[in-house]
Amino acid sequence: MAKVLMKGNEAIAEAAVRAGGLCYFCYPITPQSEVAEYLSRRMPEVGGTFLQGESEVAVSNMLYGAAGAGVRAWSTSSSPGISLMMEALSYIAASELPTVVVNIVRTGPGLGGILPSQGDYLQAVKGGGHGDYRCLVYAPSSVQEAVELMPLAFDRADRYRNPVIVLGDGMIGQMMEPVEFREHEFPPLPPKDWATDGCKGRKPNIVNSLYLDPVKEEELNQRLAAKYERMKQNEVMYEEYMTDRPYEVLLVAYGTTARVCKTAIKKLAEDRIGAALLRPITLFPFPSARLYELAKPVKFLMSVEMSCGQMVEDVELGVRCEKPVYFYGRQGGLVPTPEEVVDQVKKRLGKGA
């Protein structure tokens, strides 16, 4: 089909509908309310469910219930709303249920502001809610990529029976770019024989996250840990930019800031400074092994973020602290500019700005 010009938020909504995400719960919050606006029109057309809950707490528990019943349930929100969903997300992970939550990140902490940020990295990547669990985390860097990642997110949520987070930012949500909706083929999924979808003629299924028997709880913890190891083996995604020619600096950035870094790298090349970019597409699992390889020829790495450096520790772990890892970022809804990144790289190279 032909390309259409769409806002990131609307494109995410349409991609989810096409991926069979027909059960959508939400509570509006800037900068992602267009998802809900779009789906309030679109869901009735496709026989789906659009439901605005009374709060994000309600929404996330609706996700828990619907996912338990075996349907593709999902939600979108932005940072403060995502925090309210964390309890249910922990329950969903513990109950081994699939769901997709899109976080169009705004500034924080607290109520923060409505401009773009990457300040929810640690929350998304390291757990967020209580207990020993992880989410698979995808970070799109364009509207087209967001559209490609939505069907993958639903598939992997079902395949791993685990929550999947799509971590955007206000820029990805608000920006319009041409998109093309392609058909996605995935191998058949196992039947949802665990779903609480009516037990006539079979033994009842139970969705539960309460384990008072320590042995049973440990079994769950170890089963989850093994699942996250399988994700690390099989799900790592990244993009490399300008790694096919000599470089002495490796930038690491995801989402919107990765695009800023690409322009910075082009500008650095004009000054005969070789820089390359590793853009993690999955933030958990993090592309640590590839990072280590790519860091071999460089003098230093630099993590560029719209936060105070939340990804730095993963970059340091990835390079096993064998090379200096610097950080450059902006906060408060300000986006690093290519010019700023160029200046920072030159400064660290001792070439002045």
Binding site: K3, L5, T30, P31, I114, L115, G170, M171, Q174, M175, M176, E177, P178, T256, R259, V260, K262, T263, A264, K266, V335, T337, P338, E339
Partner: protein, 181 residues
Amino acid sequence: MQTEVVFAGFGGQGVMLAGMVLAETGMNLDKEVVWLPSYGPEMRGGTANCTVIIADEPIASPIILHPRDAAVMNRPSLEKFCPSLRPGGFAVVNKSLIPVDPEREDITVVNVEANKIAIEAGSGKAANMVMLGAYVGATEVVPFDALVETAKKVLQKKPKLVPVNMKCLDQGYGIGQAARA
């Protein structure tokens, strides 16, 4: 080749739509495009702007500190954006509402009485299309017939508005072309 333009004005003047029509025209021509709005707690009467990037190569940073061009519909927008334009760029200035000039020698200024022309064409609300026409006339960033085709498509749900908008695009285009010469 990459062209960036900021459309800016009061909320309600239609700068977002003007930018969208331009971006969609670029897309229809198989160019790479980005349309990036300023977003915030804004409402009718507040300031609004969007950046449109049209390029032959994939667009890296969507955040442009120094756009090449601007089309400004009110004075605060002129004061905000014209100083940051790159040398050699274009500024389309709505002289119906802006009594001053950009204090730049190194850009091409296209003066257009956008509101006056739009009112004479039948609707003051179409001043954004005068601006868009003038911008494309001055820069030829997209062919005019492609712009007209896209604008017609965007407006197809409101067929009554098509003639006045086409007239505005056309008149703006003529002024832009004249400034180019």
